[in-house]
Symmetry: C2
Subunit: 357 residues, 2 copies
Amino acid sequence: MYTRPIMEINLTTICENYTFIKNHIHPITATCVLKNNAYGLGIEQIGRALYDHGCHTFFVAYGCEGQQLKQVAPNSCIYVLQGFGEEERSFFQQADLIPVLPTQLAIDNWFKNPANMQHPAIQVETGLHRLGLDLNEAKQIAHLPVSLILSHLACADECQHYLNEKQKNTLLQFKSVFPNTPFSLSASDGVFLGRDFHFDMVRLGAALYGINTTPYEEKKVKNCVKITAPILQIKTVQAGETVGYSATYTVKRPTKIATVSIGYADGIFRNFQENGALRIQAEHTIFKAPVIGRVSMDNIMCDVSNIPENILNNTQYMTLIDDFYDLDAFGADCKTIGYEVLNNLGHASRYERRYIK
Amino acid sequence: MYTRPIMEINLTTICENYTFIKNHIHPITATCVLKNNAYGLGIEQIGRALYDHGCHTFFVAYGCEGQQLKQVAPNSCIYVLQGFGEEERSFFQQADLIPVLPTQLAIDNWFKNPANMQHPAIQVETGLHRLGLDLNEAKQIAHLPVSLILSHLACADECQHYLNEKQKNTLLQFKSVFPNTPFSLSASDGVFLGRDFHFDMVRLGAALYGINTTPYEEKKVKNCVKITAPILQIKTVQAGETVGYSATYTVKRPTKIATVSIGYADGIFRNFQENGALRIQAEHTIFKAPVIGRVSMDNIMCDVSNIPENILNNTQYMTLIDDFYDLDAFGADCKTIGYEVLNNLGHASRYERRYIK
């Protein structure tokens, strides 16, 4: 008998996703985005795997993440997307991190009192209206040593969106200001918009982890996450009884339910209860058990009445996420996107994590 | 200049919430539920604070959590709500944890090959239909040494709900089976249903952390969490331009926006964008800056056009959560409950965490 849910993370698949895109954009540099603990999946394990696989340029969001990464990816070049914060000075010093600076003030601060000898990257505004200097501001700092000019697309997951062209053309205007500096525009979703979106470097985050960044056509990368959770109890509930918090679900006929050891504390969104199901794969068939009642903090109840007894008796774990029902599908059933569900699942602290090589 | 968001966790407030309920239920035992890393807020810090404050009985969900807790709360009695899993045997051994067992099979397993000398707790089914033995099953194990009989209310946050009485009366039927064993029914939300819901022990989770467990009347506990995040850039966006991913927000008139360094990677739900605002408190006034465009992984953009320039110029951090806009309010704006948002915020790895005593 077991109680903890299991998260399997396939490092080989992550490296295959990397290689697939690297080959697609060849000879442009493919870098990896490992911010937020590699989207929650483990910056040390994934950083080491990608480093060993040949990636030596990374992006993280904060200095604390960069310092962790540097320990498994020595001699690599690590950019910090949220820029340089004074509270992170020691991380920048220890790991020789490169800040991505978004404002004149941030640039002034860096050059007045840099944390290391790295030339910063500069973020420029091309239409996302999030972070970055506009063209006039960029001209003011054109004389400074800069390692990379970076911008970010707003609508790259819609290949026909007018903003894609507009942002690319706006970025090209910065070429006259920084004629000898490498440029980067695209993240995972920009990769498939065509060569002229690649500039000198693309930054691969979501696609590494198997999230579909080309929803307008067939998915190009492979799922790398599997989540299963043990059944703690199977019981029959009589008609008229209710299941779960707030008694939102009333049983219509005698119903066999399984209580599974996973809940919203493990990053399963509470609103998964509206569309969600857990699954058992056996004898080449996938049996679905719809979630009934509310997802609670540690448990989910599901209706297993339609699963043959011999199969149920031989089942210890039910499946939440796998290649047949991936992060994108789970995200849609939680009324959000694969990116958000991955971050939430990845953060959760109680999974028994297994890294597959 | 700073870049990382900050989470302040007030340990004194948590202890005050504990004392308030402890006094309310006196002389019944008040225990603390620290599962899921104390709802993400830090099992070591909160466990130590509550232990020093006089709490010596705790509940966690898994053995791994119990073992962590034991290190800061020695000589305490720690129950493991999800029961005993073979994969957690070493934790149960090292920390002398007490499993809460929900099935005959789990009870058989424990007594055949126990991980320690503790008498297990038994979970019984009274109407939540999640985990636990029914009355007939309980009679089968009445001869075994048991330390606690536990059940859980489904609708305790609705003080008039018919299930409350029904569950309490169902639990009373188990008294004849286990006449000399302590009983526990209520968690935080059962505390205020009246003396006859307290039995021998109540289990305080959500209320400790300032979540409102009496939505039918005035909130009785105090908020213990404050979240602030630094402004990375302020810029003016022209009419007709869009802000954020998928260009969902179009600016109608020249608008001053602030880009704040916090996002869904930090547990801010993406759907906060629909109702959410960030705030600045200055000169005894709270200024609200509505979220515009999509919440992204690391950043939120908000409209600061209506905030006076002198105040904006003196502001480095904006506020997400505090005593004036607490976890329940945030949960409602994310279309869920305070419990879920707390777990998600608490898991997030990039906050600079400050424990206030």
